[in-house]
Symmetry: C2
């Protein structure tokens, strides 16, 4: 049996990540009590209705009172206002963490509003689905997924250890890195792929007028995987691109450069260049399967319903 | 029980699609006998070893002799040579079809080499995995997937009906359209997404030197879906882009135009434009789930091993 790591965990924001954490924390008895709040009254009502946490509060100030762990689960663009609101109400010795997809911008937005007597440890669980909101959560979301923590200089070792054990208790593996490096790695593995997927789906949407429902009908030919990526929460992703602007633009620049080279090879009929390029990418795929981050089942593990 | 639709089905090329057809045809007793050949001796040896078809021949001319259905399962770029070789050996009244991802180029390459006494009905099953070769096939590959046939003017109705029933017997749904329209629809739903995925994986491969194994480690954040698409057969895809050049370049042009607009919105910090764009794409995703072409399971139906 796990002993509760925290007396009271407070969630500010009750979407997919917070609700999944609530299920996972309850399932593994990692906290004695949980509170939560959300900006939208509708979200708070749903959270009350499904009993997501022990206490759903109308304000963030109330939710964080007496909490020894506060988890900021709002879009990155909303974090400065939240930090300003909760700052005066945080308990001495409490840990404040977040689950934002960008880390340097969160540190810049949140840090200045926190009192000196709390431990601020930014975090980012690399897990998600195409669904959002308090009903979307499930306890297994973080299982075998990475959670990256980006502690600041002079971070309290005890507070870091306790937060690490919380994520491990929810099934995650933990990695530590500094915030700028996190933002670059995620620009490659997540932010730019999402922008590209959104763009491709947008193009297909324009063409839908030409091709009727055919884009949807024949989506299994490859396009489907893009729509899955591009179905994530629009506000969250807006904030990701606004706050990880430099790294995203840097990777986008490399992407368009390579795309133009392939486009030119197609136009000139340079089959050798295309084949070489396409051969090289298989090695990366094999690495991902070997790293246990995906399955190589013939139908990708999907059920053909 | 299904009655055999064909006396003898001959496969030219024994990769993922041919081997899946062989399993599906055998499983549903859709043909009395099957023969096959492949350019590579290694592939033919594997096919013999696993008993993929009744007779593995060393040449395409031998394989098609006496067949009432010939299925060209080679990369599009190899089809002209194959058609030239088999033309004189085709049985009168036989149907010749193919499974190429591009249709007009196949018609141009194959048509001129076929004798007047055969029925040529180009086809394209919209199914695949990241795996290739004769061991990759499985009978369920075509279940609930679309197969597009692009019959030419004056196509024999009886031959078309028989081929339709073969694909239905393997679990596919059939659609008919003309070749240029097929090539445009597939440029949107398949060819351009594949090129983009290959490009993004290539960019990540370059950056791997900077980020060590982190690209692979954190791939579940979105990048993973790109690597799945980009792991398909390099030669097949080389030929797709060389032979569906115009439609692919057209869609690529639209894609880069939209991508630049989003890139500019990021650079200028235009959150409203980004959010609007990302919101619009959700509708397409819902359409795909409603059309039964994917699942909305929280973990995408994947097993977390």
């Amino acid at each position: 049996m796990t002993t509760a790591l925290y007396r009271r965990v407070a969630f500010v924001g009750l979407g997919l990540i917070a609700s999944s954490m609530a299920h996972a924390i309850r399932g593994a008895s990692l906290a004695a009590q949980m509170s939560g709040t959300a900006r939208s009254a509708e979200t708070r009502d749903i959270a009350r209705e499904i009993g997501l946490v022990d206490q759903v509060c109308d304000t963030a100030a109330e939710a964080v009172a007496g909490a020894d762990l506060v988890v900021l689960c709002a879009p990155v663009g909303a974090m400065a206002d939240i930090a300003r609101e909760i700052g005066p109400h945080l308990a001495p010795g409490a840990t404040v963490t977040d689950v934002g997809s960008v880390k340097q911008a969160v540190i810049d937005a949140v840090g200045p509003h926190l009192p000196g007597h709390v431990h601020f440890i930014p975090g980012h669980p690399l897990a998600g689905t195409e669904h959002s909101g308090p009903r979307a959560g499930f306890a297994g979301l973080f299982r075998n997924r990475w959670c990256i923590l980006t502690p600041l200089e002079g971070c309290d070792a005890g507070a870091l250890d306790r937060l690490t054990r919380l994520w491990q208790g929810m099934g995650s593996q933990i990695d530590l890195m500094d915030a700028p490096h996190h933002d670059l790695v995620l620009a490659v593995t997540s932010h730019t792929p999402h922008l590209i997927a959104y763009t491709m789906v947008g193009v297909a949407d324009d063409l839908r007028r030409v091709t009727d429902s055919e884009v949807i009908k024949y989506s299994a030919a490859g396009f489907r995987d893009f729509t899955r990526i591009a179905a994530s929460d629009p506000v969250m992703w807006r904030d990701v691109f606004l706050t990880n602007k430099d790294a995203t633009l840097e990777i986008l620049g490399r992407f368009t450069e390579e795309l133009f080279a392939l486009q030119r090879a197609i136009r000139r009929g340079d089959g050798a260049q295309l084949q070489d390029y396409f051969t090289r990418t298989r090695a990366i795929r094999r690495g991902i399967i070997e790293a246990g981050q995906d399955t190589d089942a013939p139908d990708f593990g999907r059920q053909n319903t």
